[in-house]
Amino acid sequence: MSSNAQEHEDRPWFLAHHFDTVGQQMSSAKLGMWLFACTEVLMFSGLFLAYFILRDLYPEMVLVASEELNKTAGGVNTVVLLTSSFTMALGVRAAQTNNNKALKRNLLVTIACAFIFMIVKYFEYTTKIEHGLLPGAWFSALEHGYMLPKYSRVFYGIYFTMTGLHGVHVIVGIGVLSWIYIRARRHEFNSENYVAVENAGIYWHIVDLVWIFLFPLLYLVK
């Protein structure tokens, strides 16, 4: 290490030993997070491709089966996630401007929005389960008086896989944001050391980005 003993004192507490400057550590952390965000995008792309293939194999089935989905619930969830994205961006800005109080407030609003999203999803799922619009062996829509085309269970399989995996990512997001909130309460973040908040923001925006594409494809497209 080119830094001798004297320099040790003025190294900020959050600078790891193997980095030379704070800038290097921050840009490394951000690049690492962006690469992880790319893996998330690529993973969800697999599900979107499965959806497009299903539309290619059974165009009319997908249209009829997607009619049963609750459009307003999807719309409300979209608005909720967009607000959470907005407050997350404000939170990152608050961290950059040493405004710890605003950071905590925004984090709480974001976590609250995430909870609302999960609750709306809970109601959506329960109605589906009651009406038997489920994948595979559980598909009993005909007994509930739904005249659905032959392979609708595959559509609901894809619907539950996509929204379920997205829901798991929202729950993980709640965990990450709560951890950031706890650290914010300990005043760990300031205009020098805010990369953790920014990375949580990147993760949350990716989750929101996936839902922005998922909502029209599953719920709206004719």
């Binding site: 290490m1 080119s2 790891a16 030993h17 193997h18 980095f19 030379d20 290097q24 840009s27 490394s28 690049l31 690492g32 690469l35 992880f36 790319c38 893996t39 998330e40 690529l42 993973m43 969800f44 792309s45 697999g46 599900l47 491709l49 499965a50 293939i53 299903l54 194999l57 059974y58 994948p135 595979g136 062996a137 559980w138 032959k150 392979y151 269970r153 595959v154 399989g157 894809i158 539950f160 896989t161 995996l165």
Partner: protein, 572 residues
């Protein structure tokens, strides 16, 4: 820092005329015999810096994590290798010898799955790469040391899950888990797919670590054109690991959902389409075969230059072809589906793109052979392995052209020709390069030299055994012997017996490598800091290196291949 290195900055860097770093006047920070710089109290190497098992289990030192990866991956290489010997012995005759058909199917599946997910993908990048990358970059550690340790433990969880599959009724779907067979079979498909899923995470974490380290933590003065080609290769591998593995994650996740909730997207009985699974799977798995071979390219670039004392021929071409292979490898996965219900139009497109990926690989091989021109070649064991690599990889590459040609592929697909091709590229390519790399960096890792003659004998045995085993399989494949066959027609018997004998010789060679290297750790004679008089940064620190790699952050002023023997007088 002496004035010399400042003057050298003025000259145009990285062209041939750069003043060589270790000029006669400036004595590089050499260390005397037993591994510590003169005048400084003998500093402990990373091996002895802290004692006790806990110091290893919770270490964040990239060198220790690299060693742990090496031990784990070589253990699984042994396990899967023994399975391979069992397979070849069973195939000695056309009918049942000592395994039933069901057991044979489980053995070849586990041989494939363990080799791919637990040995060949992590071994060079995470094993040798973890150890060598920060040293070659002149960094103190990788960008995210804790993430590096997490990657190792995620790998261990994946290993435990794959071992658990053995207990839960093993797996008989082939390492590709093709549906609908993998959906209906009763064996432990979910445990195995979850094992591969978790191994994918470990691969992504290593990839992220390497890309960020290469971008952000290079030594002062090390521009992209002064990086050793090993780093270029590991960087290209890391790119693929990041971009391809998530698609494997979602494919295996959908397969598990298929088996548990029977969604029906891959199951034709419920309206899905198995060809869709093959597209998903091979979109990951073809780039994955480049994850396997690219690090091997990196090692070979190092071995050939250091041991023939010559600057690499066509540095820019090799560096860019590594990244080019990484990118083009995402376009070509369709050549695995030529005969499996893919449309002819798509087949034509994929065949054309497959030939596009062959060109950069050819450039690399030609450049390596051209590097030997005008050299002063030292026939050390690593050099022997590099020569064996050139022979076997050239055959592997050329036979790939057969399989890329559409009509010939119809005849050769899923026959032993394919088995021989990918073993030539994977065993003849990656494993031979991996062994060469182990011999090359063993003095740096343990500060001990291996026994040269034993090393050369092992190289010879590996060469003879490997070629006997797999050269015959090309003829088997052309004669129409299908793949994964447990019992075969009598006229294939002669070739199978030759191949089985070859497999036993190869096994002896590999065991000899194991003993030579382990023997070297205990009682090899001490190695100096730079036994091969190489110029890249990892040879500038003690061997075995101190815990934080370098006393003073090294300055890089020239290319890593400016050997003192290179004749700069311009009359050559």
């Amino acid at each position: 820092m002496s004035d010399d290195s400042k003057k050298t900055d003025e000259k145009a860097e990285d062209s041939a005329s750069t003043d060589v770093v270790a000029t006669k006047t400036e004595k590089p920070v050499t260390t005397d015999g037993d591994g510590h710089a003169e005048g400084v109290a003998p500093e402990k190497s990373y091996l002895t810096a802290s004692r006790g098992v806990m110091s290893w289990l919770v270490t964040v030192d990239h060198k220790r994590i690299g060693l742990m990866y090496l031990v784990a991956t070589m253990f699984f290489f042994l396990v899967a290798g023994l399975l391979a010997i069992a397979l070849r012995t069973e195939l000695f005759t056309g009918q049942q010898d000592f395994m039933s058909a069901a057991t044979y199917n489980k053995v070849f599946t586990l041989h494939g799955a363990i080799m791919v997910f637990l040995f060949i993908i992590p071994s060079v990048p995470a094993g040798i790469g973890n150890f060598v990358l920060p040293l070659m970059l002149g960094a103190k550690d990788v960008a995210f040391p804790k993430l590096n340790l997490l990657s190792f433990y995620v790998y261990c969880i994946a290993a435990v899950m794959l071992i658990l599959t053995l207990v839960l009724g093993s797996l008989d779907t082939g390492w590709t888990f093709y549906t609908p067979y993998s959906k209906s079979t009763g064996t432990a498909v979910i445990m195995a797919t979850m094992g591969a899923f978790v191994a994918g995470f470990s691969s992504i974490l290593t990839g992220v670590n390497f890309v960020v380290t290469t971008h952000k933590m290079r030594a002062p003065g090390m521009t992209w054109n002064r990086m050793p080609l090993m780093i270029w290769a590991l960087y290209a591998t890391a790119l693929i690991q990041i971009m391809a593995t998530p698609v494997l994650a979602i494919t295996l996740f959908l397969l598990v959902i298929e088996r548990t909730l029977s969604v029906g997207i891959f199951d034709p009985a419920m309206g899905g389409d198995p060809a869709l699974y093959q597209h998903f799977f091979w979109f990951y798995s073809h780039p994955a075969v480049y994850i396997m071979i690219l690090p091997g390219f990196g090692i070979i670039s190092e071995l050939i230059t250091v041991h023939s004392r010559k600057h690499i021929f066509g540095y820019r071409a090799i560096a860019i072809s590594s990244v080019a292979i990484a990118v083009i490898s995402f376009f070509v996965w369709g050549h695995h589906l030529f005969v499996s219900g893919q449309s002819e139009l798509a087949g034509i497109v994929f065949s054309f793109l497959t030939f596009a990926v062959a060109v950069p690989t050819a450039i690399k091989v030609f450049s390596w052979v051209a590097t030997l021109y005008g050299g002063s070649i030292r026939y050390t064991t690593p050099m022997w392995y590099a020569i064996v690599f050139l022979w076997t990889f050239t055959i592997g590459g050329l036979t790939g052209v057969y399989l890329g040609t559409l009509s010939v592929n119809v005849h050769l697909h899923d026959t032993y020709f394919v088995v021989a091709h990918f073993h030539y590229v994977m065993v003849g390519g990656t494993v031979v390069a991996f062994l060469g790399g182990l011999y090359h960096w063993w003095p740096k890792m343990f500060g001990r030299m291996y026994n040269e003659t034993a090393g050369k004998i092992s190289a010879l045995l590996v060469f003879i055994g490997f070629n006997t085993t797999f050269l015959t399989q090309f003829f088997l494949g052309h004669q129409g012997m299908p793949r994964r066959y447990y019992a075969y027609l009598p006229e294939y018997e002669v070739m199978h017996q030759v191949s089985t004998v070859g497999a036993w010789i190869l096994a002896c060679g590999l065991f000899l490598v194991l003993f030579t290297l382990i023997h070297a750790i205990k009682s090899g004679e001490r190695a100096t800091a730079n036994p091969w008089a190489a110029v890249s940064l990892e040879w500038r620190t003690a061997s075995p290196p101190i815990e934080h790699n370098f006393h003073a952050t090294p300055q890089v002023t020239g290319s890593p291949y400016d050997f003192p023997e290179i004749d700069k007088s311009g009359k050559h």
